[in-house]
Assembly symmetry: C2
Homo-oligomer: 110 residues x 2
């Protein structure tokens, strides 16, 4: 399957971080997380799932494990299973990151 | 873990496609495949592993399942486990793709 110009699929949510699914296989999920200025994904962990963020547009402030840093286009962040991570867009521009998760998230009931 | 400016890690091999490892976790591998003009990764499959290509620099000709297409910066390609895929750089420029594999490849013996 080919997804053209992945960043063009970005959709924003005025109320909270936006989530877009690009591809889901048995072992791997690819999507976008989108952040208006000031939006964030608060500190959290995934048990049994590894995550990669790859910055496509804009800049953000990431926390992962013991690290805290500003990240920019082309930077990659790895949060291993059980490792706390958070991502925030300090603005003024929008932030779009590609998210890879393995294994993929399970569909929510209902 | 943070990898700054992932595409800057690209290393080329004059003899064949170059491979660079960026990150390896229990469930996920991230790396770069690099192609000088004319280089290719011939048609192959991975049993039990899903792969994503994401084009970082340049353009390529991809085959995946029944699809054949030219892909450019920002395009994403998904090759599910058992699905044949190939990637070629027709030139004249260099081609760099990010590769995600889940589960990750096993270290080769020896």
């Amino acid at each position: 399957m080919i997804v053209r110009n992945a960043v063009s699929k970005a959709a924003f949510n005025p109320d909270k971080m936006g989530k877009v699914s690009l591809a889901m296989t048995e072992n791997l999920f690819a999507g976008l997380n989108t952040f208006e200025a000031g939006q964030e994904h608060k500190l959290h962990t995934h048990q049994g799932q590894d995550k990669i963020y790859f910055v496509l547009r804009g800049a953000g402030e990431v926390a992962v494990g013991e690290e805290q840093a500003r990240i920019e286009e082309g930077d990659l962040v790895v949060a291993e299973a059980g490792e706390e991570h958070a991502l925030r867009n300090p603005g003024p521009g929008r932030l779009v990151v590609m998210v890879l998760m393995a294994p993929p998230p399970k569909p929510k009931a209902g």
